[in-house]
């Protein structure tokens, strides 16, 4: 008996001894443009419908068709939805990467592969299941040109059978996926069944992976962060939207267009919005400033390269004090970088985007729910502070599917900030655009069209006095700049507060933000379970930082700042803001290879820095 078989036998028996239930990840390796997206979604949704916490991550190339793509589905009875490094089951559909994919697996993993690839010969410490896709597909799909697509649904069936996924749920998920396209649905369902039946008949389960019905997803939804941003903006009453296509932000506006067309048509049958595909990002941000200046709630969505092009206008928004909401769905930089990989690399450059003492407000959504709520907050903050507000999401949060509680309906009224009406002007007998009336650094503004002879003022990016008149006087300039600094102080109390997840007075604290949250939460459990290290945790939700952030750092001897960039960007901003004597407490945990951060990397890094 060959050692290979031996190894496999052990595993097989092993699998009986300790079944691994609802706690593993499946990776589907395909070619982009091959239409595997729906198959993957069906697989994800079937697990979701079985009440098992799941998450799906799409690792795709910056290319339209023909290059390798990996889709990873993780189910976790503990509710962990961050990326998991280790792959437990590989569905190898891509001949080009099959060998690498197989070689990179940990021992004991299962591989479902296309028969002709003959992968089983490669390693003896894995469990192999071969599926004759072409044979199966030809039987269920007479039309040759459709086979390439349908083929994918076969692995869904096979995997379902191997893991014990309820075919009723597969069917439900599949019918939802194809919605009205009944014929397509039937065709694909047959393919799934063919896969299932084949597995039942010809494959002997040797791996320990199983799924079982749970009840964790009651009422939950599956959505990507960009759709959440779009919904948030719609319910925040956005009226003027400008954009220029760029991965991974395009789907924010594309989905927003769909929602707005459906839900924002007035009683007169006309649109209560204007959405413009601009000629570039310079124009996109310019339109947003023009619209916000004129009184509209206006936004644009982009990514790194677009943010760089918005630099000059951002400085003007800051200095002329014009609201604007910019969603930055971060991708890997510098420059064009890796357009289809995730990162938190724009934090520092965005904080100081614009020459000459410019400072910008940033919000950091940490979940799809916050993508929704912070879209709303962003408009409120921007109009209250009269300054551009950047919402820094990222590709992982924005383009991947996330499980979530349904979003809370925003019941609070819009906060439109300090805007004077014609009546106010009559009462006050006029106003000074840049006067610090309330000593919070925030002046009053009027909107074009306000029917009062004293309503108008002159907006400019050049030096001005309180009355918005052109001025080069040293004192006018300095006073205005000091007021703007005061306004930035006021911002601390207007932006969303951080989330203090745990503050139990232990010595070690962790600070993270955005999409790193999922990995950090899981890592805290690992630290406790595996190393008995308890860590407190604060999640930053905005810049400038509010009191809680400083207090959290004060309370801990060592604070690990976890982020997905090379240059410890958030840690840098903290260094510039905290009590200098606390600087030595800050330590950096960085993850910057373009993949979403995972708990294991965080845990290992902290442990090694803790010297354990």
């Amino acid at each position: 008996m060959a050692s290979g078989d031996l190894a496999v036998q052990d595993l097989a028996q092993g699998s009986e001894r300790n079944r691994i239930v609802n706690d593993f990840s499946i990776q589907v390796a395909t070619v982009n443009g091959s239409g595997s997206q729906s198959a993957n979604t069906v697989l994800l949704r079937s697990l979701f419908r079985m009440g098992i916490p799941v998450s799906g991550k799409n690792l795709f190339p910056s290319n339209i068709a023909g290059l390798p793509t990996w889709y990873t589905i993780r189910c976790s009875k503990h509710g962990y939805i961050a990326r998991k490094k280790e792959i437990d089951m590989l569905v190898a559909m891509n001949p080009e990467t099959a060998k690498d994919d197989v070689m990179s697996l940990d021992s004991g993993a299962a591989v479902v592969y296309d028969e002709p690839l003959k992968l089983d010969a490669m390693r003896s410490d894995l469990i192999f299941y071969s599926v004759p896709y072409d044979k199966l597909v030809s039987t269920v799909c007479p039309e040759a040109k459709l086979r390439k697509l349908v083929k994918n649904m076969i692995y869904v069936g096979a995997v379902a059978q191997l893991l014990g996924i309820d075919m009723k749920q597969v069917e439900a998920a599949l019918r939802k996926q194809f919605a009205k396209k009944i014929k397509a649905a039937d065709l694909n369902m047959n393919a799934a069944r063919a896969g299932y039946d084949y597995a039942a008949a010809s494959l002997t389960k040797k791996d320990p992976l199983w799924v079982e019905q749970m009840n964790e997803n009651e009422g939950k939804v599956i959505i990507d962060g960009n759709a959440a941003v779009a919904l948030g903006a719609m319910f925040a009453g956005v009226t003027v939207v400008t954009w220029y296509p760029i991965t991974p932000s395009s789907s924010v506006c594309e989905q927003l267009i769909d929602y707005m067309k459906k839900y924002r048509i007035g009683p007169d049958g006309k649109a209560t919005f204007a959405i413009v595909q601009a000629e570039d990002e310079l124009a996109a941000i310019g339109m947003v400033l023009g619209a916000s200046w004129a009184g509209a709630r206006s936004m644009t969505a982009t990514s790194g390269p677009g943010i760089s092009l918005m630099t000059e206008f951002t400085g003007m928004g800051y200095y002329a004090e014009i609201p604007a909401v910019i969603f930055d769905i971060q991708r890997v930089g510098p420059s064009t970088g890796l357009p289809t990989r995730t990162s938190q690399g724009d934090v520092l450059s965005t904080a100081f985007l614009g020459h000459g003492d410019t400072k910008n407000v940033m919000l950091f959504p940490g979940s799809v729910t916050e993508c929704f709520t912070m879209a709303g907050d962003a408009f409120d903050v921007a109009e209250q502070l009269q300054t551009p507000v950047f919402v820094l999401s990222d590709l992982d949060l924005g383009m991947n599917n996330w499980m979530s509680e349904p979003f809370p309906y925003p019941d609070k009224p819009f906060k439109r900030g300090k805007v004077l009406t014609a009546e106010d002007l009559t009462r006050l007998g006029g106003f000074a655009r840049y006067k610090d009336v309330d000593k919070d650094g925030i002046p009053y503004r009027t909107l074009p069209g306000t029917d009062h002879p004293a309503a108008a003022y002159f907006t400019r990016g050049s030096g001005h006095n309180e009355k918005a008149q052109y001025s080069e006087r040293p004192d006018d300039y300095q006073n205005n700049m000091e007021r703007l600094a005061r306004k930035f102080e006021t911002a601390r109390s207007i932006v969303p507060r951080p989330e203090v997840v745990a503050n139990n007075g232990v010595k070690v604290g962790v600070i993270a933000y955005g999409s790193s949250d999922f990995a950090v939460r899981e890592s805290r459990d690992q630290l406790k379970r595996e190393y008995r290290v308890e860590v407190d945790y604060l999640r930053i939700r905005a810049f400038p930082f509010s009191r809680e952030v400083h207090e959290f750092i004060e309370k801990h001897d060592r604070v690990y700042v976890v982020e997905q960039n090379r240059d410890s960007q958030m840690l840098s901003l903290l260094k510039l803001d905290i009590n200098p004597s606390h600087t030595p407490r800050l330590r950096s945990v960085r993850h910057f290879n373009g993949l979403p951060i995972d708990a294991r990397s965080v845990t290992d890094d902290i442990i090694s820095q803790e010297g354990k």
Partner: protein
Amino acid sequence: MASTPTSVPAPKTNRLGLQVLDYRGGKTTLCAGCGHNAISERVIDALYEMGVKPERVLKLSGIGCSSKTPAYFVSRAHSFNSLHGRMPSIATGAVLANRSMLSLGVSGDGDTASIGMGQFVHLMRRNLPIIYIIEDNGVYGLTKGQFSATADLGSKQKTGVINDLPAIDTCTLAIQMGATFVGRSFSGDKKQLLTMLKAAIAHRGTVMLDVISPCVTFNDHEGSTKSYKYVMDHEEPIAEAGFVPHFEDIAVEYDPGTTFDVRMHDGSHLRLRKLHEDYDPTNKIKAVESLMEAHEKGEVLTGVFYIDTQKPNFVDLLHMTDTPLAQMPQEALRPPKRVLDEVMESLR
């Protein structure tokens, strides 16, 4: 007798009962004799005579001496002196936010044809409802006289440097990109410029006016094709515009026998006196042709070259509600809870 007060005549007012004073701006800080100042005065006259309420005007500009001028007319109108070359995007946003305003964009040749080319072209293409004025002196005035992209081939700088690159004809460009009212005038030609501006106010699409406006400090000497002298010698008006607003009949001024009428959106008429036989401002191809021919002859054509009153403008294309978006109440902008429930349900 000397002591009896002489009765003061009531100040002249327009249909809104406003005096020309109500359209004044701050004191100009431009050089004495700068063509831009003359243009500001014509803008004041046009808005006054057309009876446009100051509070309903939006003034938008980029950066340059020309872009400073909105500070020198109609102080009662909101104004946005933006960034170099970026007025078009600011204007686009503002117009979308409040479609009810009359938008007036002022730019320079550098602001438009050099750094602003991209945004200029795309504003024209959208036929955004705005009056876009280029105060064209062929130089960068504010930065002390370097050539702009409209400086004519062979024109000389004070420093003696000669421009060896061809001039960009912003009118031809505007026509081809989609502007629906395109003309050229000269800051010194009070009558023509005023009538053009008044016609422009009645138009509902992109009006692009290239107004030759000599820079007396850096570009008003022999050898410069944007100097007073040069323009006076080479100007060849193709059509002198006499505008007839529907609330004030000044048709008598014109000889009906030789006129060509264009019906404007607001019911008023733009009357062009043909100087050239068979010049038809609704023919795009001919318009471009005449401009290119004149250019080859080294002539500065003035007048209204092209008009299209039928083409939908950008606001029409967006099918927006009539209420300005900026003035919509929260109720109209935030869908009810059931919508969110519906969406959430679709995601399960």
